[in-house]
């Protein structure tokens, strides 16, 4: 649905986006994850046609944003980091204005009512936008992006600055929208992305450092799992007993009856290790996972590339 190819954006000598390529399938919810200043917003601004790329192409459902801007923009609903709201307009007047400039063909009154019902702002439709709370403003921004039922939704940090209750509401909203639309949404909060998205792209310093299904991300990043053990018994017996277990790649003794076991992340070896060690008569005193959590792998990933970036 959305195809980004070799996208690069240069400001002066700074590469804000550095040769990014990815595709998003129809109906997919893609999380765009990265620390502040990683190039998320720039990439989204390029996809939506607000900025142009220094090189590379963005194709949405077969049309290219620079060659066919009008047609392509009509397929995208965009919620920028700061929702583009006119404070002096009422919610309804604002949505009618956005409906007009987006040249939506659906029946006006009904469509706007429908969108307001989806994001639950029907009760404030006659209030001035400047008098709304932050959460409501964000939802008006959502409504604006949904006008015309665009197949692709691009949401730039939609939950920033909201209270926990509002964050949960917005998350549920995005999850619901993901059933009908292709959604690309950015965040610097990992738990949020992993809660909503099917797939995560981690971006740091303008580069993609990981692109994986949400549940495989930590495996992709670290490549393997690790189990830390403390076992009584001679090290050779323990090592060979563990080595017999299916999925184990390498056993290292770290002294003091402690062992680190690297294993293939696709299988759970804990049961096998327990059985094998019990059979060998060795007592397990401690067993814990030494692999990285999603959070740790994210940090590792982004700090690594930042260090690399710093050396340039």
């Amino acid at each position: 649905m959305v195809e980004v190819k070799n996208l690069t954006k240069v400001y002066g000598d700074i590469k804000a986006v550095d040769d990014i390529s990815f595709t998003v399938g129809s109906g997919e919810v893609l999380g765009f994850l990265g620390p502040n200043g990683a190039g998320k917003s720039t990439t989204m601004n390029i996809i939506t046609g607000y900025l142009s790329s220094s090189s590379g192409t963005v194709t949405v459902d077969g049309t290219e944003i620079l060659e066919n801007p009008k047609e392509t923009k009509a397929k995208i609903g965009y919620l920028p980091e700061i929702p583009p709201l006119y404070p002096d307009m009422t919610v309804k007047a604002y949505l009618e204005f956005m409906y007009d400039i987006k040249k939506v063909k659906l029946p006006k009154e009904e469509h706007i009512d429908e969108v307001m019902a989806i994001v639950k702002i029907s009760d404030v439709k006659d209030r001035l936008i400047k008098n709304l709370s932050k959460g409501y403003k964000q939802r008006v921004g959502f409504a604006q992006a949904l006008l015309g039922n665009p197949p692709v939704l691009i949401l730039d940090e939609p939950t920033v600055g909201l209270d926990p209750k509002q964050i949960i509401e917005i998350r549920n909203l995005i999850r619901g929208l993901g059933k009908k639309h292709t959604v690309i949404f950015s965040s610097h909060v990992l738990s949020e992305v992993s809660a909503i998205c099917d797939r995560i792209i981690v971006i740091s310093n303008g580069k993609i450092v990981a692109d994986a299904k949400t549940d495989e991300l930590s495996t992709v990043i670290s490549g393997k799992g690790q189990l830390l053990l403390e076992v009584e018994g001679s090290s050779s017996t323990v090592s060979s007993a563990i080595n017999d277990v299916y999925g184990v790649k390498k056993v290292t003794s770290t002294g003091n009856n402690r062992y680190a076991v690297d294993y293939d992340n696709t299988v759970d070896i804990r049961r096998g290790v327990f059985n094998s060690l019990t059979k060998a008569g060795c007592v397990i005193l401690e067993m814990k996972s030494g692999g990285l959590t999603l959070e740790e792998s994210f940090l590792q990933l982004t700090s690594q590339s930042q260090r690399k970036g710093g050396n340039k």
């Binding site: 046609g49 607000y50 965009y78 583009p84 307009m89 956005m98």
Partner: protein, 234 residues
Amino acid sequence: MLAILKRELSAYFNSAIGYIVLAVFYFFSGMYFYLYCLYYGSASLTPVFANMFMIILFLIPIITMKSFSEEKRQKTDQALLTAPISLFEVVMGKFLGAFVMYSCCVAIFLLYTLVICFFTTPDWAVILCTILGMLLLGGALIAIDIFVSALTESQVIAAVISIGVGLLVYMIDSLASITQSQFLINILSTVSFNSNFNNFTYGILDLSNVVFFVSVIAIFVFLTIRVFEKKRWS
């Protein structure tokens, strides 16, 4: 384009700014009308128009100052530029919004003409020509000031620069009189808003004057579009 025009007008008339501009314009034009026409018993509106030039120089920047600067400050330009409309439509919508607002101001002269009708037959050629001249002159200033507004995020800066540019335009003739070079004098008097406007106040509809103001509008609409293009590409 129509949607943007509609929004611009509702922004003027849903806030105090539209009414204040109208009130100030009507007040000064009414004052000059009383002074030069009713008090002296003259049927000529020409001195009224000449004096309104100065008032326009201050009022048009007030009309246009938030045109694009406010969009940039509120980041609403992102909505306009990612919507499936062209930059030309956006800029023209803004221009027409301010122009219609300004036309509402100028329309008061039709009322003054009606007042003159009570006493004598007005010189319709002069009056209609001058109103057209006022509209063209205002349109040119609006195009320049919208361009200025697109350069900054601050309404105040936009207004101050616009007033400065307006005064400079007003003084071009005085500048021409102090230069020695005949070449410069020729250029300055060609681009002088005053000399291009004066023919209208005599009831002379000279195509070159019309072309001059329309060209200024076209150039600055084009430059405004370039400002946004450049922002995208840099």
